[in-house]
Symmetry: C2
Subunit: 231 residues, 2 copies
DNA sequence: GTACTGCTGATTGCATTCAATCACAGCGAG
DNA sequence: CTCGCTGTGATTGAATGCAATCAGCAGTAC
C-alpha cells in the first residue's frame, strides 16, 4: 500500500525517458495540471504524492517546485510545504497593467514577420471563439489566438515574461470568462477582429493600440468582479 | 586538498543558520557573487565546489541553481553542467526595451508615496554619483538611486520583473560604465537631476518621460558599443 | 598523417536514508 | 469551559551513495 500502485507502467515510462530531464518534465506536467484547472489556488502540493505520480523520487520533485516557484505558480514555505499560488485583486490588476505595456511591444516585434497564413489562422481562431459555447474551449482558443499573434517575434525574455503573466493570471481569467458569458459582452470579439485587421494591414501602431485597449478592458472588467478573488 | 579548507568555520556557520533555508541562502550568495563580478558570463559553475563553499551538500545547491536558472542568471544543461548566463547584444537591447516600458510604470506607482526624506536621499545619491570616480561605486550608487526611487511602490511582480532585468543586464552595465567614463558623457547625471526634480514636484507624468528617455539613451549608447558583447 | 574507436576520470542525475520541523490530538490545570 | 502543554505522526530538509553521461586521450587501422 505504501508502494506505487502501478509499478510496471512506471518502469515502462521511466526507461523510455532520457536521463537528466526529470525535474523539467515534472515541472512541465505540474504546470499543465495547474493551468488546466486540475489544482485550485491555495491547494496544497505534497512532494511524495507528486513523486509517486511521476515515478520519481522527491529530489527532482523539489527541483521542479523551485522552478515553478520562480515562475510564480507555486509558493514554497520552508518546513511547511508548498501551495498553488493565489492572487489578490491588487496583484492581478498589477499584472494586467504590465501586460498592457509589454504585450503591445511584443506584438510590434511580431507584426512585420507574420505570414499571411498565420493571419488567416488568427482570423479563423477569432471566428471560432465567437461561436464557441464551451468555456474551456474559449479559454484555450483565446490563449492560442494571442500567443499565435506573437509567434513571429523572436525574443528571449519578453516572450517569457508575458507567458508568465498569462500563466499566473490563467485561473482568474477562467473565472472571469464564466462571468463574461453571463454578461454577453461582445467587445472581446470586436477587439480580436480589429486586431486581425490591423495585422493584415501591417499597421503595428494600430495593432498596439487595439491590443492595449483590449487588455485594459479586461482589467477593468475584472476590477468590477472582486468576488473572483474571495480568499 | 580535496576537502574544505576551513571545516571549523563551515561548521560554525552551519549550526548558527536555520534549518530549511539552504537553497535560498546559496542562491542569494551565488547571485551576489555573479552580480558583483566574481563570475564572468560563460564561466562554468561546479556543484561540488559551490557545495563546499557553502558547507552544504549538492542537493540544495542544485535547487539554488534551479532558482537562478529561472531568474536567467544561470544556464543549465542536463548531464553537461551549468554556466553563468551571457547575453547577446540583441537580447540586451530587448531587455532595455522592456525596462523602458515597465520602469516608468513602477515609478508612477511610487511617486505619490515617496517621503521628502527619501527624495532628499535621492538628491544626495545623484550628487555623489556625479563626483564618483570609482566604477564599482558608481554602479552601486546608480542601482541604489533607481531602486530607491521605486521603493515606495508596493508591487509584487512588477518590482520583481524589473529586478530581474537589472540583474541580467548588470554585467553589461558594468562594461558600459567603463566606456561611459572614457567618453565623459554627462547626460546620465542630467537625467538623474531631472528625475529628482520631477519627483519633488510629484509630477508622475514628467518623471515617467524622463525615466523612459534615460533608459532609452542607455540602450542606444550600448548599441553603439557592440564590442561589449563579443563572446 | 588522419580519422575512428574504446577507455578512464570527472561531473552530473537521482534514489535512498536519516534528521529536523511542524501540525494536531489528547490531557491536565486553573 | 478555556487555555496551555506535551507527545506522536506526518511532512519537509538535506547528506550520502550509486548509476548514467560526457569530455579528453591513447591507441589503432587505413
Amino acid at each position: 500500500m505504501t508502494d506505487a500502485p502501478v509499478p510496471d507502467v512506471k518502469a515502462l515510462s521511466a526507461t523510455a525517458l532520457p536521463h537528466g530531464e526529470s525535474a523539467a518534465r515534472i515541472a512541465a506536467a505540474l504546470r499543465e495540471e495547474i493551468l488546466g484547472g486540475g489544482y485550485q489556488p491555495g491547494e496544497r502540493i505534497r512532494q511524495q504524492e507528486l513523486a509517486a505520480q511521476n515515478g520519481a523520487s522527491r529530489v527532482p520533485v523539489r527541483e521542479a517546485l523551485r522552478i515553478l516557484e520562480a515562475e510564480g505558480l507555486v509558493t514554497l514555505v520552508a518546513n511547511a510545504g508548498s501551495w498553488v499560488s493565489s492572487l489578490s485583486a491588487q496583484e492581478c490588476k498589477e499584472m494586467y497593467q504590465m501586460r498592457e505595456r509589454l504585450e503591445p511591444l511584443l506584438l510590434r516585434f511580431s507584426t512585420d514577420s507574420l505570414s499571411e497564413d498565420v493571419i488567416d489562422q488568427l482570423q479563423q481562431l477569432a471566428d471560432l471563439m465567437q461561436e464557441s459555447t464551451d468555456i474551456e474551449q474559449f479559454i484555450a482558443l483565446d490563449r492560442q489566438f494571442h500567443l499565435l499573434s506573437y509567434s513571429a517575434a523572436s525574443t528571449i525574455m519578453l516572450g517569457d515574461t508575458i507567458m508568465r503573466l498569462w500563466n499566473r493570471t490563467q485561473h482568474y481569467r477562467r473565472a472571469y470568462t464564466r462571468m463574461f458569458r453571463a454578461e454577453r459582452d461582445d467587445s472581446v470579439h470586436y477587439d480580436h477582429q480589429l486586431l486581425v485587421s490591423a495585422l493584415r494591414n501591417r499597421d503595428a501602431e494600430d495593432a498596439e493600440r487595439v491590443l492595449a485597449s483590449h487588455i485594459r478592458r479586461t482589467r477593468l472588467a475584472l476590477a468590477r468582479h472582486p468576488e473572483i478573488f474571495a480568499a
